[in-house]
């Protein structure tokens, strides 16, 4: 369980790096090899490794909702790092997505 929590945390930072690295693409396609994007991809791979290890020996019903916690972290980071505002729509949409992922986890039992 801790492993999945860690995976979701790392994965959300992966998204943050991808976002910050993507701004450099405006300078031209050659910028695609910048260290932020590389860090983003690396963090993603790391989180996938953790996730796969966790899912091997764990109850999927518990793990699925924990994975989607990554969306919550990402929402926090996007406010913190990119100054994106919280809106009602985001809260509503995100809560429904979390609920839906939990349902699908239950359905896959």
């Amino acid at each position: 369980m801790l492993l999945v929590l860690l995976a979701s945390f790392i994965g959300s930072f992966g998204a943050v790096f991808l976002k910050s690295g993507s701004a450099k693409l405006r300078g031209g396609l050659r910028q695609i090899l910048n260290y932020r994007l590389a860090a983003g991809v690396a963090l993603y791979l790391l989180s996938t490794c953790f996730f796969v290890t966790a899912i091997r020996n764990g109850e999927l019903t518990v793990l699925y909702p924990l994975v989607s916690l990554g969306y919550v972290w990402t929402m926090l980071w996007s406010r913190l790092f990119f100054k994106e505002p919280f809106t009602r729509y985001k809260f509503a949409g995100l809560s429904l997505i979390l609920l839906g992922v939990w349902f699908i986890g239950m359905g896959n039992r």
Partner: protein, 154 residues
């Protein structure tokens, strides 16, 4: 009711030598709608990648990592696995472009549509069974993504 169709008196036919309005989408800023469209394509790619990876994993020799280490060529001839991996690469590329101009807090949660496609595709391809939880999950995620996509922009 006044007619506001073609015959407006101020109608001006476009000039032939008007400069082209097409701007390379790689260079210009994408609209909110375009970013959402991109991440939507992303979720389709991601789902296809996941399905291919599952097929590829199924085709691996029994015996785990040691069997693969003994004969690494099985990885290179496992086309489902390779296809899945390359689709993941494409997924990441599109995601980066979607993130460039879209809000992270809007674009990222939309990836949850992955769950929807994978659930539906597993029903069709792997003959998994449908149950009320899965149906509810699909419905609720689609609703959540719709709300996020419509209201998340400016």
């Amino acid at each position: 009711m006044r007619y506001h169709g073609y015959f407006r008196s101020d109608f001006q036919p476009p000039l032939n030598d008007a400069p082209s309005t097409f701007v390379n989408p790689l260079q210009r800023t994408l609209t909110h709608r375009e970013s959402i469209g991109l991440v939507f394509c992303c979720t389709l790619l991601g789902a296809a990648a996941q399905i291919l990876m599952k097929i590829g994993a199924h085709n691996l020799p029994p015996g785990g990592p040691s069997a693969i280490a003994a004969d690494p060529l099985v990885l290179l001839t496992n086309f489902a696995l390779l296809g899945g991996l390359s689709l993941y690469g494409l997924f990441t590329l599109l995601l980066i472009f979607a993130l460039r101009d879209g809000e992270l807090s809007v674009i990222y949660p939309i990836i949850a549509l992955n769950y929807v496609w994978v659930t539906i595709l597993s029903l069709i391809l792997f003959h998994e069974t449908m149950n009320p939880f899965k149906a509810a999950g699909i419905g609720v995620i689609v609703l959540g993504v719709t709300i996020l996509g419509r209201g998340g922009g400016r």
